[in-house]
């Protein structure tokens, strides 16, 4: 990665604006240099850009990790990244620099595929930094905001950036108070409606579980059991950020099931060393939902889900070592049908890149968050 700095503080320490035209010029010269290096230079450099990605992170964020992640994103989805590093408690300052990312393309030809503008802002400048971001967006292609923090509808910067982008990406696995924070997301979604399309990387982590679970009831012969469930068990690793709480991913999973299947709290709630068990009502039937933490601390990932409907049992879970996923369906005395498939853990960069391919509003997610937040709100009266 090559970098050029452009300082916006003058010697007297006054904070000026960001020189947008200057940054664009520097980037253009980067492209030219690379074009010149191409053998023959006949076809020129293929400059592809399919999305703008604004990343908001705290200045204290570990840079090497973030850089690695953005590099991975660039390898999958050519983007212009505008990295906004905020030092909210620090002295007022505004610095910008540009850099480009290259990766080898087919047949060893060099291919430039990503560019990055890093803006470091401190103190009071943060409130107005959005005005420096807007002119840097590449026109006509989608813009995404990855808000690497708990989203706060009251925050001016957050609100301004949300207006600029097609989609906002958050990560509920980074919540240190999953119940409260998820409820805040729910109210934010409710208040913004169509104005803010939200993605959650943690929902992305849940996708393969949702598909494993949904797969069971794609099978016509099993379908009837979905309406007759009497017990659901979700096992998850405790979150390192909130070891005592139910992990956000598990809360999302429950919210998803409750919203899709119309489950309501029935009032029964037991919490002991075995975990949390709550009663849920669905069409006159009571379903016992058990949430259990097990294993080492981590991001709060789900490890296993099991469903029971009388004599039918459906189970999906990680195999030993976490490199495989095992599923089984057992209907009474019929032979158990199951399988083991490789589980290819996606890197965070791949996950983020995946979000950049989605523009539509994810109403299933929104309803899952709303349902989870309703179940959280009724905590004392049998909720989660």
């Amino acid at each position: 990665m090559m970098e050029t700095q452009s300082k916006s503080n003058d010697d007297a320490g006054r904070v000026g604006g960001v020189d947008v035209a200057g940054l664009e010029r520097q980037l253009a010269s980067r492209w030219r240099e690379t074009a010149a290096e191409e053998v023959g230079g006949k076809s020129g450099v293929t400059r592809v850009c399919v999305a703008n990605l604004i990343v908001y992170a705290s200045a204290a964020e570990a840079r090497p990790e973030l850089d690695k992640l953005l590099e991975e994103v660039a390898a999958q989805t050519p983007t212009r990244v505008i990295l906004l590093l905020a030092d909210r408690g620090g002295a007022p300052r505004l610095d910008a620099s540009v850099s480009t990312r290259c990766r080898p393309a087919l047949r060893g030809r060099r291919q430039l595929c990503g560019e990055q503008i890093t803006i470091e802002a401190g103190g009071g400048v943060i409130g107005s930094v959005a005005s420096a971001v807007e002119p840097l967006l590449v026109p006509d292609i989608a813009a995404f905001l990855w808000w690497k923090d708990i989203p706060n509808g009251e925050d001016k910067l957050f609100s301004r950036l949300v207006e600029m982008v097609e989609r906002v990406v958050i990560d509920s696995a980074a919540f240190d108070r999953p119940r409260e924070d998820l409820s805040r997301v729910a109210s934010l979604v409710a208040s913004r409606g169509e104005e803010m399309r939200l993605s959650d990387l943690n929902w992305g982590r849940l996708t393969s579980w949702r598909s494993l679970v949904a797969n069971f009831w794609d099978v016509p012969d099993y379908r009837e059991h979905l309406d007759a469930l009497d017990r659901v068990e979700i096992e998850y690793e405790p979150s390192a950020l909130a070891p005592k709480d139910v992990a956000a991913q598990a809360l999302l999973a429950v919210g998803w099931l409750a919203s899709r299947l119309g489950w309501q709290p029935s009032g029964r709630r037991v919490e002991d060393e075995d975990g949390l068990r709550v009663g849920l009502a669905s069409g006159g039937r009571e379903i016992e939902l058990a949430l259990r933490a097990s294993g080492e601390l981590g991001v709060g990932a789900i490890r296993q889900v099991a469903f029971r409907a009388g004599a039918a049992e459906f189970r999906a879970g990680f195999g030993a070592g976490g490199a495989t996923v095992e599923t089984s369906a057992k209907i009474g005395d019929a032979p158990i049908v199951g399988r083991v498939v490789a589980y290819e853990a996606k890197s965070e960069g791949q996950r983020l890149s995946r979000e950049l391919s989605i523009l539509a509003r994810d109403e299933v997610y929104e309803r899952a968050v709303a349902a989870a937040s309703r179940l959280i709100a009724t905590n004392a009266a049998g909720g989660i």
Binding site: S43, G44, T46, V48, V50, A75, Q76, T77, P78, A105, L106, Q111, C113, T207, S208, R210, S211, L212, V213, A214, N215, W217, D218, V219, P220, D221, R223, E224, L226, L257, R260, L261, G319, A323, T324, E326, T327, A329, A334, P335, V337, G338, R339, V340, V341, A342, S353, I358, D362, E363, V364, Y365
Partner: protein, 512 residues
């Protein structure tokens, strides 16, 4: 057909791709090359991607006597050899292998199909496959009709679930045999159960043709005789007959490539916009396009078609023998390994626009592409000296390798004087989407399991393809027309007559 199933409320809004229904895949010809190379690796990858459910099994059948265990071991080796999977986890393989079975079966022995039926019942029950069956005919084409007949007689073309049959290529060896094959298939199967594979249609870029033409508003207005000067389709291979000389002797490039693959591409370029993406709507438009293709008469064959056969030469720096020296090929063979044709579509959109097609073996470069050559600007402002390196606007759609789309247009060379040069605007799948493109067979198998025949050839398409090329085949069989083979050197772009064919119209082949 399966009874209507209750909707799965958990499926809604799922970002994951479409998952197939439970089924048993029966491969007739499971000891063969295609099973090893393509089918089993594709099924394994689909299972790993969880695009096929756990309620799934494969029954392999062929004459070779083999135990199921031996078949499983053999399949493991082929998956390891022919798929990109770096390392296959033992547990993962074991779980997949438990779903593989083998039965010894001779297509000409009806009793063997009873045995297959019994095994299918058992496998279906054990794996919860819901009575859905997909028969893959991966045998020599002479056995396709007989296999379907035996399936029909044994009652295996019906089931409590769906039954579909994938028929490999080649589909007939001329119009008569293709019609006869269709007739015999229809004796036991509904058209909706028949999936005639053309693996070109499984390629990402080919599917992108529909998107490119009909999801963009800017190309369609230009896509006609007003703006397009001509179209070139190049389908070039560097390989020779690869030990399949015996088969190729009875085929030739018109039968092997043009009648099926090239005409599929051609119809996608020439078709009118379909009313919907529904399989029948798309296939209706494709056949309509081919219906308006001007017929070849003996006279047109002589004027507008060129044949060639390669002699010894060098491909990619390696010396290679001529076609007649290949094993299984007659020393005085008259089979064509190269053909170039000019086609016209007699309809409003394409009237007068020539479509130049060339396809062959042992050519200079392996490439399949479609080049749309637009007309010149109506009035040339820039003089000859300024336009030294300018061709007309071209849109090039590369099907393989390095899938992508290039638009060529003129731009000013920076400097004090006005000089104009061609530049390329390049879109490559590989660099815009950092994902591995799926193998054609994966996509096609999955589509069949999902009951989507869009990317498969319908009866009328297979017959129309033959109808168009029959006069060429017949004329070439009747007379050498003064052509002596070999007439092109391996590693070149075909015989001189091919260049003359296009240059006669004051145009030139592109160098792909």
């Amino acid at each position: 057909m399966a009874a209507t199933v209750l909707e799965n409320p958990l499926r809604e809004g799922m970002r994951l791709e479409r998952t197939a229904e439970p089924c048993v895949v029966v491969i007739l010809g499971a000891s063969g090359d295609l099973t090893k190379r393509k089918l089993m690796p594709a099924l394994f990858r689909l299972a790993q991607a969880r695009l096929i459910p756990a309620e799934f099994a494969v029954v392999g059948a062929a004459r070779t006597a083999m135990e199921t265990d031996a078949f499983r071991a053999q399949m493991r080796d082929s998956v390891a050899e022919f798929s990109d999977e770096q390392e296959i986890d033992t547990q993962v393989w074991e779980s997949f292998a438990q779903k593989l079975y083998y039965v010894t079966l001779d297509i000409s022995t009806p009793a063997d199909f009873k045995g297959l039926g019994a095994l299918l019942e058992k496998v279906d029950r054990e794996h919860g496959a819901q009575g859905n069956r997909l028969f893959y005919l991966s045998t020599a084409p002479q056995l396709f009709a007989e296999a379907v007949k035996q399936l029909g007689v044994a009652g295996l073309t019906k089931s409590r679930g769906w039954v579909r049959v994938i028929v490999e290529k080649p589909f007939g060896s001329d119009l008569e045999s293709a019609r006869e094959l269709n007739r015999r298939l229809h004796e036991h199967l509904e058209e909706s159960q028949i999936y005639r594979i053309d693996h070109y249609l499984g390629k990402e870029t080919v599917q992108n043709l529909l998107v490119f033409r009909f999801a963009n508003g800017i190309y369609e207005p230009l896509w006609n005789r007003q703006y397009i000067d001509h179209v070139q389709i190049t389908n070039a291979e560097t390989v020779g007959v690869e030990g399949r000389g015996g088969y190729y002797e009875s085929a030739g490039v018109v039968r092997d490539m043009i009648q099926n693959h090239v005409f599929q591409l051609l119809s996608l370029i020439a078709m009118e916009p379909p009313a919907s993406l529904d399989a029948e709507a798309v296939r209706d438009e494709k056949i309509k396009a081919l219906t308006s293709a001007r017929a070849f008469t003996a006279e047109r064959v002589r004027a507008d078609c060129v044949r060639g056969q390669y002699g010894a030469g060098a491909v990619g720096g390696e010396t290679v023998v001529g076609y007649c020296e290949e094993p299984g090929v007659a020393k005085d063979s008259t089979t064509e390994t190269f053909a170039a044709l000019v086609m016209y579509f007699d309809n409003w959109r394409w009237s007068g626009v020539p479509f130049f097609i060339r396809s062959g073996k042992r050519l200079a470069k392996r490439v399949t592409e479609i080049a749309i050559r637009f007309k010149d600007a109506p009035h040339q402002l820039f003089g000859r000296e300024m336009m030294d390196q300018v061709a007309a606007n071209q849109l090039i759609i590369r099907i393989q390798p390095d899938e992508g789309i290039t638009l060529r247009f003129a731009a000013k060379v920076p400097g004090q004087v006005t000089r104009v040069r061609d530049v390329n605007m390049d879109f490559r799948y590989g660099s815009s989407f950092g994902v591995q493109l799926a193998e054609a067979y994966e996509r096609l198998l999955l589509d069949c399991m999902l009951g989507d025949p869009t990317l498969y050839a319908r009866t009328d398409m297979t017959e129309r393809g033959w109808e168009i090329v029959m006069p060429i085949i017949e004329e070439w069989a009747r007379t050498t027309g003064g052509v002596t083979f070999p007439n092109y050197e391996a590693g070149t772009w075909g015989p001189e007559a091919s260049d003359e064919l296009i240059e006669r119209t004051s145009r030139r082949w592109r160098r792909p």
